[in-house]
């Protein structure tokens, strides 16, 4: 079985750098949900159910650091689509679709969303474009019927939902699927010997144009200082008149 894992490079959510702060570029990491997808692919391969894991990402050469991290975790090879534009989910899904048709994996595992824009759309759009089944927000994956089907546990607001899907399929990962391994130094050394294939949208024959534009990015407004109230009556009045929540 061949597993394809698309992943995105995002600003490190554990980095204290503030959005828009001067003269500091936040460190980048693999999107944590995608890291879970990589880990799951590695575990599937370690169980002997997969032979190859291919990682795919889109970005400028600067994302090679995250690619090497994925290679160091243990994926077999990686492809970078050289495109430094800020692409929206639909554009990403269309690029991935072409690559998936080219690579013909049995299953695509990816994060349910990226922690920078929180769109949560690429997996679903990809399944739609490919007309493949999808299982989203997955916290458990089992392969059945000689790897022709997958039984996936989904984390929904109503509880855990178990579904079976035919392969090939798109699976998007939730937080509780696993805990990703850390990159080891021997892994880093090995990663240096693995190849990163670089392709462009032109080479893939796909033209994408973002359908959405980010107009501005701003910090959340600073919280105003609170006031102390003397009585319940005063509190109710303030909630009615100032906060207008009653």
């Amino acid at each position: 079985m061949k597993i394809l894992v698309p992943f995105k490079s995002v600003p490190d959510p554990n980095d204290a750098t503030v959005v828009g702060a001067a003269a500091s570029t936040p460190k980048s990491v693999i999107n944590p949900f995608d890291e879970i997808a990589i880990e799951e692919a590695l575990r599937i391969r370690e169980r002997g159910e997969a032979a190859e894991i291919v990682g795919i990402t889109i970005g400028a050469p600067t994302v090679d650091e995250q690619i090497r991290a994925a290679l160091a975790m243990g994926i077999d090879r990686a492809i970078r689509i050289d495109d430094s534009r800020a692409l929206d989910p639909y554009a990403v899904a269309r690029i991935l679709r072409v690559l998936i048709e080219k690579e013909a994996p049995h299953v695509v595992i990816m994060g349910k969303q990226a922690v920078d824009d929180d769109s949560n759309q690429v997996g679903q759009m990809l399944a739609g474009l490919l007309r493949w089944p999808q299982a989203t927000f997955v916290s458990k994956i089992e392969f059945l019927g000689n790897k022709t089907r997958a039984r996936c546990t989904r984390e929904t607001d109503a509880g855990l939902e178990v579904i079976e899907i035919k392969l090939p399929a798109i699976i998007t990962t939730d937080l509780r699927l696993n805990e990703p391994r850390y990159v080891s130094l021997p892994g880093l050394m090995k990663a240096r010997r693995k190849s990163i294939e670089v392709l462009t949208c032109d080479q893939l024959g796909v033209t994408v144009r973002p359908l959405t534009t980010v107009l501005s990015t701003a910090r959340p407004p600073k919280r105003a200082a609170g006031t102390r109230v003397e009585s319940v009556e005063e509190l109710v009045t303030k909630l009615r008149q100032d906060a207008k929540v009653l």
Partner: protein, 381 residues
Amino acid sequence: MDFAWSDQQRELLDAVGRFASQQLNYDVIENDREGVFNREAWKKCGDFGIQGLLVPTEYGGLGADPLTTVAALERLGYACKDNGLLFSINAHMWTAIIPLVYNGSEAQKKKYLPGLSNGTLIGGNAMSEPNSGSDAFSLATTAVKKDSTYVLNGSKVFVTNGPVADLLVVFATVDKTRGPDGISAFLVEKDSPGMNVARKLEKMGVRTSPMAEVFFENCQVPEENLLGKEGGGAFLFTRSMTWERGCILASAVGSMQRLLETCIRYANERKQGGQSIGKFQLVASKIVDIKLRVESCRNMLYHCAWLSGHRKSVYLEAAMTKLHISDCWVKCCEDAIQIHGGYGYMTEYEVERDLRDAIGSKLYSGTSEIQRNIIASMLGL
């Protein structure tokens, strides 16, 4: 001169920092209180590649150069708060791995280095004796050749990793009349008949690093476990000590950097008399001192490692590096407590532990006085 890291080094150092901050900082206060060695964290470090940094790749290591190694250990010391664990790792690297790498036979290297690199085996050495400390080569432990074995008799103290070690490099003399030329090194495995790892020693600091007394009573060691030549122990010990002096406090430099950042944060947050205490010049001046110490220590550490990587003798530089960093580490810890006031004295603030951990650095691998003797002798005094 190039002060920049290569992309590969930067990647490696970042990986060390991420690994250590996420995987090693649990139960540190409790383990320090109880004197518990974190075996799980040890294994994680092995799997991650710390213990094998210097070990050639054909024996399961990373084959890193000395400069990259000390920088990795510095980053480890910055991100991991368990100084005892780091002390154990250092003892293992400099007193068990280094002698094996340099003096081990092919068979010895194949047998021990992969396990010592990946964290399945723990090593250490047994040199100091009740009556032989700074005067290291006056040791009384004897090794008598009998057929195809050496029979060891004597007692050793301050054996770092003793209670948990799988392999000890034990120094003994084959002929007391030959002085240093009689000293030989032996690889002694745990549970060897006649070797008795006695009581665990309680300590002021690095309490999570276990230490023991070890007794040898007609302990039989197969002759193939002689490390290096018979009578070559003193040279082997000196080489391993030179490595140790130059590198053992790399993690201390990282620990000082962490203290510096802790102090800056605290001095900016803590308000007295209507302003941050960092605005008081007496506090700011202490923090500037810490910064100066960190920078000077780091420069000496890197320079010594760089020389070593270029196959230059570092006998003098290693002694100076060890002396300077240990002095600075203790002073930084004292200043950090002073800046934190009463809170710094409290266990939960994790500043007082650093001071207890730091003080030993003026004693192990040769006391500060011994380092001064070495430096003086190298200056022609």
